[in-house]
């Protein structure tokens, strides 16, 4: 365990302490304690910048399950550091913001901060681990934490719906990602990402390459809300706004992007990787930006805009992966896309974070997020309006903000694609920049719409529930102001980040492209000259965007604008309903509620599977049965035993039934005594006694035994099943016995007899086996017993009263 391991685990440890802090220090807002951790971690991770920017990577090993190749190895390079800084930096700001956003009197702060810290730790685990299985584990924890946070106000139906939806979609993706990782292990024999990258040519040559790639991408796309899996993100907006700002725009949804970036070294260079990611990214970008225009909820707009921006980054990673195709080509041509992706990742976190927080402030102060009710807030909330203006201008791609720089670079990257001359790009390539441009127009449009609807126009207090609308308290404004300042600073001095953060991240995404000691050329400029096509594309975006906004009145009432709900939600809802109904149907046809039916299923299954095995391996092959002679009195005992069992089906009186079953039980105990197994005999006797007592106790409640008229056919079937079951068990045990004799196997009990005294210090072999040799079995059996009891108790005490459908 090194300091880095502790850094990853520290949020979990802090999460354990939160409930106590919340309970015993109620007067102080729990958020203040939580705030310390991300701040410390942020400073700690900053200290890595000098090392990563010189091209160094830090690797600390910790064995977890070495026999399966699963190790908790922490790996810090430019890419993981960038994400770690985002997670802790934005985390600190979000916690600070949440202190003012969530009231300490009304809200269950302990839940909130436990989930938030759980998320923070898991997210750090995802980006800092080198091992795919460890990544998977942390990945699922982020899904769970996200779901819990979405359903934070769990009394609201919509929150539960959103939480479920995000859970189903992201966990589905997570599971397929696990399958993809397993395939990678099958191909390359390792879960370590660095080793996979080193063996990329083996992976590439394998027949499992495409399936592994698609499965891994399913995980990345569901997490990063790529089309058509994006539908969970708008519903996730039911979470408190700090959560939306943190998980659903700045960090968690970028986990998919992280994964794609991280695995570019493994999959990059393949045309399938290039096309799937580029197309998914572009479609998401366009679909998200068009859908965002239709939204009326501030957070809804931001959600779709996040989807669209994630698509943008994704498409850049897709086109940038071509760098692996030309190992020694013109780096600037392909790496512009990667550069733009990394830069936009940072920029998106800053401007989207501030926008979410501003939207939260509007919601907090006015009580609504509906843009049809809002308006004219500019004079009432000037600071919030300024923050929003900066954020939206940056998102729309206007100078001098950071969004402008990365947007131009994005357009450059997309234009470069047409010059690649591979993967049939010479014929289809021209479409890519056009799609990118169209999406940019819509991005511009929803940015103006959002600002004008919220802050301009007339203020109408009659539509609001809150009486006196005023600016937010200063504490709530600190975080968005810091982010807005960063938007401006990064916009004016982009080269602050160039070699400290961006270049190391690029080098980590594209390992092996550079020879050691070399660096990518990262020089970000505002001005590319009058002839640069990017400039004219931006001007075109602004002009067309403004025209669309001016004519807003015209298309305001069209069906396109009226509808808000994403069409793909219907697919999800139908699918979900179908799944529920299908499983109910499946349950209903076999779960009759009668024990005897279940016995029929079980016995039939055992008969079939054993009969098949015997048939398949030419059994029963009973050659010789070397049995010891059976004394006459044992025959007598067995006769009584058989007799007691045979009479049971013919008895119609319950007391007689109990006695008959007890007789068979006690005779089994007697047989144990005869074969000198005192422990078993004792146990059997006690079990019989206790069950007789149980019968006595419940006797009073049982209904009268009814003579059930069974059709003769069914009776025959039952008879056949019973006889078959007895026959198959007898045959099975006889052949096992005969086989053991023929092959001269030494019985395992001999080992126990010999070693019980020396190894475990006991003479009673049965007990020594139970507590020592097979201790884990006993442990788990006891656990099963405990679970069964809990089931029985809850079934009886908490049972349904009426005719609820389960």
């Amino acid at each position: 365990m090194t300091l880095l391991h502790w850094a990853v685990l520290s949020p979990f440890i802090a999460a354990i302490l939160i409930p106590f802090l919340y309970k015993y220090l109620k007067r102080i807002h729990t958020g203040w304690f939580v705030l310390i951790l991300p701040l410390v971690l942020f400073i700690y991770f900053l200290s890595f910048i000098p090392r990563t920017s010189s091209g160094e990577a830090i690797l600390n090993n910790l064995d977890w399950v070495p026999s399966l190749g699963i190790n908790f190895n922490v790996y810090v390079d430019g890419l993981s550091l960038l994400f770690a800084l985002l997670i802790t930096g934005i985390g600190a700001l979000v916690v600070l913001y949440s202190i003012y956003y969530l009231s300490k009197r009304k809200e269950k702060l302990n839940n909130f901060y436990v989930y938030l810290l759980m998320f923070m730790g898991a997210m750090l685990g995802v980006v800092l681990s080198d091992n795919l299985i460890v990544i998977y584990v942390f990945w699922e924890v982020t899904s769970i934490a996200s779901s819990l946070l979405i359903s934070y106000w769990y009394t609201r139906e919509k929150s539960i719906y959103g939480a479920q939806k995000s859970m189903y979609i992201t966990v589905f993706g997570g599971l397929s990602m696990l399958a993809g990782f397993s395939l990678l292990y099958v191909i390359a024999g390792t879960f370590s990402i660095r080793e996979l990258i080193a063996n990329a040519d083996i992976v590439m040559a394998s027949g499992l390459f495409i399936p592994a790639m698609i499965l891994v991408l399913l995980g990345a796309f569901t997490k990063s809300a790529q089309f058509p899996f994006h539908i969970w993100l708008p519903d996730a907006m039911e979470a408190p706004t700090p959560v939306s700002a943190y998980l659903h725009s700045a960090t968690m949804v970028k986990a998919g992007i992280y994964l794609v970036a991280r695995l570019t070294g493994v999959f990059g260079g393949a045309p399938e990787w290039f096309w799937i990611i580029t197309i998914a990214g572009l479609v998401t970008l366009t679909w998200g930006s068009i859908s965002a225009v239709r939204q009326k909820d501030l957070k809804g707009i931001l959600a779709f805009s996040t989807i669209s921006q994630l698509g943008l980054i994704m498409s850049l990673l897709g086109t940038g992966s071509a760098a692996f195709y030309f190992q020694d080509g013109d780096n600037a041509l392909y790496m512009t896309a990667i550069l733009a992706a990394v830069f936009h990742l940072v920029n998106h976190a800053t401007f989207k974070g501030s926008l979410f927080m501003a939207a939260g402030i509007v919601d907090h102060e006015t009580g609504t997020r509906d843009i049809r009710k809002l308006g004219g807030l500019m004079t009432i909330m000037p600071i919030t309006a300024t923050i929003s203006l900066i954020g939206l201008a940056s998102m729309a791609g206007l100078p001098p903000f950071n969004g402008f720089l990365s947007k131009e670079m994005f357009l450059t990257g997309m234009l470069n694609v047409t010059e690649y001359g591979i993967f049939h790009l010479e014929t289809f390539g021209f479409i890519i920049p056009i799609i990118a441009w169209i999406a940019s127009v819509f991005t511009f449009l929803y940015c103006i719409l959002m600002f004008s609807k919220t802050f301009m126009g007339k203020f109408d207090s009659s539509k609001l529930k809150v009486q006196h609308v005023h600016e937010a308290p200063i504490g709530m404004l600190i975080s968005p102001i810091i982010l807005a300042v960063l938007v401006v600073v990064f916009g004016l001095f982009p080269n602050l980040l160039a070699y400290s953060i961006i270049e190391p991240a690029m080098a980590a995404i594209a390992p092996g492209i550079l020879s050691p000691g070399e660096f990518f050329d990262v020089h970000i400029t505002h001005w590319h000259g009058f002839l640069a096509p990017e400039l004219w594309m931006t001007i075109g975006v602004v002009v067309l965007g403004v025209i669309l906004f001016m004519t807003f009145k015209k298309w305001e009432n069209t069906a396109f604008y009226r509808g808000e709900r994403d069409l793909f939600n219907y697919a999800y809802d139908y699918g979900y309903d179908g799944l529920v109904k299908g499983s109910q149907w499946l349950t209903r046809i076999q779960m009759t509620g009668r024990l005897r039916d279940y016995f029929i299923y079980m016995c039939t299954f055992i008969i079939l599977i054993m009969a098949y095995t015997m048939y398949r391996y030419n059994l029963p092959a009973i050659q010789s049965l070397d049995l010891s002679p059976v004394p006459i009195y044992v025959w007598f005992v067995i006769a009584v035993f058989i007799g007691s069992v045979i009479v049971i089906p013919f008895i119609n009186n319950r007391v007689a039934l109990i006695i008959a079953t007890s007789v068979s039980g006690f005779i089994v105990a007697l047989l144990f005594v005869l074969f000198r197994a005192p422990d078993l005999a004792l146990t059997q006797l006690l079990i019989e006694t206790v069950s007789v007592i149980l019968f006595m106790l419940v006797f009073y409640h049982l209904p009268k035994l009814k003579k059930v008229k069974t059709p003769p056919k069914l009776k025959a079937v039952k008879l056949i099943i019973s006889i078959g079951f007895g026959l198959i068990i007898t045959l099975g045990s006889l052949s096992a016995f005969s086989l053991g004799q023929e092959a001269n196997y030494s019985s395992i009990s001999e080992y126990y007899t010999e070693n019980a005294k020396e190894e475990a210090g006991g003479y009673n072999i049965v007990n020594v086996i139970l507590v020592d040799f097979r201790g884990l079995d006993t442990m788990l059996e006891v656990l099963v017993v405990a679970l069964a009891v809990l089931t029985v108790v809850s079934l009886i005490r908490l049972r349904f009263k009426g005719s609820e459908d389960v």
């Binding site: 009073y700 409640h701 006991g762 507590v771 006891v782 405990a786 069964a788 009886i796």
Partner: protein, 142 residues
């Protein structure tokens, strides 16, 4: 449950119960070297307590024995799992058991094993499980 009024059963139970209970504890402790162990001991204690319920009625015994059997199951599981962890602290695999011989005052030479707390856990789980199931069913008067 109807109020039972059975003189003979009640008088006998008073006698039997002591014998059964002490025998069950003997079974638990002696389990390592002669027939017995946590499972059998637990079942026997359970049957002893069940006889009490049977002869004196659920409600009157409930006033005397105020135990939450579900909690006892938890305690048992804790015993069984924690003894396994102890060996891990010393770098051995989970659930590795140890034993040694000690000379104790009064008792003389005694074998002490780490299997005993483990078996005690089993004892608690079995005892409480049997009682919890039977009593829940018996109390249920619907």
């Amino acid at each position: 449950m109807k109020k039972p009024n059975n003189m003979m059963l009640q008088t006998l139970t008073r006698l039997i119960i002591l014998i059964v209970l002490s025998f069950s504890i003997y079974l638990l402790l002696a389990g390592h070297n002669s027939p017995g162990g946590g499972f059998i001991g637990g079942l026997m204690t359970a049957s002893a307590i069940l006889i009490l319920y049977l002869s004196f009625g659920l409600n009157s015994i409930k006033k005397v024995i105020r135990l939450d059997y579900i909690k006892i199951i938890g305690i048992g599981l804790l015993f069984a799992s924690v003894t396994g962890v102890v060996s891990m602290v010393f770098g051995f695999p989970y659930l590795k058991q140890f034993f040694d011989y000690f000379r104790l005052p009064i008792l003389g030479e005694v074998e002490l094993t780490t299997a005993l707390p483990f078996d005690l856990g089993v004892y608690f789980v079995v005892l409480a499980s049997a009682l919890a199931i039977i009593l829940t069913i018996a109390e249920d008067d619907k």
